[in-house]
Point group: C2
Chain length 480, copies 2
């Protein structure tokens, strides 16, 4: 992307004000040009802010000169929400990574570049627990987690990022400093722009600090692996489980195709004697006696509702079980060199219908679609596998994604549960939301960002992701 | 208030379209003219919608003719957020009160007029629990609870209304039907206007249906009453308790003045041998063994950190303890015939400083300020008592409220935790929020409600509540 004269002039002014905090080397610009989507757009400069006021400087200049500004943390977004589509300036907050735990109040005050895993570790060291745990947690930062309302495996019982954010500090797109909420569990004073920012994918404000709610660290955990005759049977069984008022901390599901991928790759059977069958991993958490109470209910349920089940004897065996869940994602590349990983959500009442729908989609598209994910909240990762260079497959994959999104919305679900829209899902936003809904969202955007400088071109404009090449690079968080 | 010709004409058109659903009798208009604040403004008409589309009709006409529209449910708001300040039309949704429980998914689908107590009952009958429980729950409706982000006693452990709303159906101020969120625990598709509506006090949209998240009904409860030498001692002790990673379902506090009011009124000592001392009521909830685990921790804490404590032997004795909490509010009227009930929030780290601050405020204002409330989330009800007809007291009360709000914000807290702003707290919004923050909120309002018809004049315009007479009537939920 050519840097326009207007932006080049503005960048000179930016350097004058922020000096060495502004990088314009080819390397720095390339490194900031893409996120986990591998869609790359070269910015004119990358800003590494030292203090909060630097953000105000960047935004004031950007507003004056009409420079696009995209904020990035770990850059792990899978949708392109962190890629600077229109160039301009990238603000890299990944060095702002301080985490402070208030061990009495059970709160964490964090800078936007703090890695989610670092927040987990700091909280746990103080006897507290921060439940949201996206798979990218070793790399993804809390700013991005808030921007995309990240979820993870604990959503069903504990909720998602949104449920843990008490207060935000930051800047409006116009460069004015603001605070939303307070470090308290109640706040009912004025419109709730805190939660409007959460999930807005960096288009409504820049976060410079967040106060997170923590919950007491569960003292005990217990893990069970169950297998089922087929997917419908598994979904039927999980409804029975939830009907018993059991809320597992984690309830992960791998369909037969995911299991078969993992088995083919590792050469081991996931569940001895149940090769190639769908499995469910259930983890209970709480006080030792709470877990013991629930365990009795779950074991009785498993006896009546699973093909086979076994408990993890200890933490090491539990970790062994969990390793299957982690491996299955990478193992899918045996089925195709390209993957469309969609993070759709289906309401519990539609689980069984969705299994039927997905089988039809497999037949119609003639593509492998291994599916796994979070049964506690219906957030399933549907992986449409194809071969990048095979044009016919590529067209069928494109068609299958569209049908998947339509089907999910028809079942009362959501086109994204935790990744957000960014560029990759922009073609489907109109399936989820009516014209009136989108008009309202855009009106809010225009009201808060009148010059349209913050992360422009995302979410509402249809981006034809198929027409754009992706970088052929391996990122640290790519599933091996 | 005189009905302008413009509004009279629009009302004729409204009646033509909705017939008998539009009431214009003096009685109907008076009944809709006030809420729990007893600030009364006569509307031109009251609409009792029969179906969702009726709301669209009302709003389309209101936009065309510039008619103010205020939506009401139970009318229990204490801030005037439900009073039709500018007249126009009141939409009364209190007859829309259907509650449907999804016993497998643990969700409730509710109409906006459903009383919160009815939602509790329906959920509990199905083995589920809806934690938000404002004191007005027998009268207040879920639509208003969502509009004001209501809280109650369970906020510290379980969260507030906002934390339990998954999806909303309703209408934009412009009369277009919209849906926000989905009946799922994850949703990350588009800007989060669901949560922007929550707490917006009926100024950004009209809710016609909500899907609420439920949690498993706690099978066991256990109650403890503790007394303390003074308020600072109580606050110090509760910090120790939370530092032990115990999260009581309820942790209510009554300062010495509240206790003394209750004792004077009932002629009984709240805690035998501890007359006139501040008390704390702690309730644990969960599985029987979880409660047993926590009980051991709490009893050990009580031995080391309270002046005296006693457990409730059974549910009847627990109810007896709770009756004190309910009585203290009404008993305060022995101290004055008027009460400013402020629902401020203080962060845990500032509890002790707040006790010192409040003592100074009592001395300075020479007014009784009994205080009680929710220690789990720092949401304290500060009751400034005065005599309505005593002008000097009235002026000191006015001054004391202002100082209270300033003090709370200086301590990092919030001017409202669960009542919202409405009219009564509009003079203080600028203490909580900066000019930039309020400008952003108003920009959002203008973007979504360009004609400014929905609940106009609330929150952002300073209403001098002192200059307006209040109705001298007794409402069913007035504390006896």
């Amino acid at each position: 992307m050519k840097v326009s004269k207007k932006i080049a002039t503005a960048t000179i002014q930016l350097r004058r004000q922020l000096g060495a905090r502004v990088a314009t080397s080819e390397d720095a610009r390339f490194a900031a040009s893409f996120d986990g989507s591998k869609l790359s757009f070269l910015p004119a400069a990358v800003v590494f802010p030292k203090k909060e006021a630097d953000i105000g400087v960047v935004l004031a200049l950007a507003n004056k000169h009409g420079v696009p500004v995209t904020v990035r943390g770990g850059g792990t977004s899978l949708t392109g929400s962190g890629s600077p589509l229109r160039g301009g300036w990238v603000v890299d907050v990944s060095k702002w990574d301080k985490v402070t735990i208030d061990a009495e109040a059970g709160m964490a005050t964090v800078q936007p570049g703090a890695k989610v895993a670092a927040i987990h570790a700091a909280a746990e060291a103080a006897g507290w627990f921060y439940p949201p745990d996206p798979a990218s947690k070793q790399y993804s930062t809390i700013g991005g987690n808030i921007a995309c309302n990240a979820g993870g495996m604990h959503g069903g019982r504990y909720g998602v990022t949104r449920d843990f954010v008490l207060a935000l500090r930051g800047f409006l797109p116009t460069g004015e400093a603001v605070k939303w909420g307070a470090p308290t569990k109640k706040f009912s004073a004025g419109f709730n722009l805190r939660d409007l920012w959460i999930g807005s994918e960096g288009m409504l404000g820049v976060i410079t600090e967040a106060t997170l709610k923590l919950i007491p660290l569960p003292a005990a955990r217990w893990t069970l692996l169950a297998s089922f005759a087929d997917e419908i049977d598994a979904f039927r069984a999980v409804k029975v489980l939830f009907g018993l008022r059991v809320q597992p901390a984690i309830c992960e599901f791998l369909d037969r195709y995911s299991v078969q991928c993992a088995e083919a790759k590792t050469g081991k059977t996931v569940f001895e004697g149940q090769a190639g069958k769908p499995v469910m991993l259930i983890e209970l958490a709480g006080t030792p006696s709470e877990v013991a109470d629930q365990k009795a209910v779950v074991v009785a349920w498993a006896q009546a509702n699973t093909a086979a089940f076994r408990e993890a004897r200890d933490r090491a065996e539990a970790d062994e079980l969990w390793s299957v869940r982690r491996k299955c994602s990478g193992a899918m590349f045996a089925l195709g060199d390209a993957k469309l990983n969609e993070d759709i959500v289906v309401p519990l009442r539609s689980y069984e219908k969705f299994a039927v729908f997905l089988d039809k989609l497999r037949k119609k598209s003639r593509l492998p679609i291994p599916t796994f994910g979070h049964l506690g909240d219906g957030n399933l990762h549907v992986n449409i596998m194809y071969h990048r260079e095979n044009h016919a497959e590529y067209l069928r994959a494109e068609k299958a994604v569209e049908e998947l999104m339509k089907g999910v919305v028809a079942l009362g679900g959501a086109i994204s549960g935790e990744h957000g829209i960014g560029l990759a899902k922009s073609p489907f936003l109109r399936m989820q939301h009516s014209a009136a809904e989108i008009k309202a969202m855009k009106a809010v955007k225009d009201a808060l960002d009148p010059k349209g400088i913050l992360n422009p071109g995302k979410m509402f404009e249809v981006f034809k992701v198929w027409e754009h090449p992706r970088l052929k690079i391996e990122l640290p968080w790519d599933h091996k």
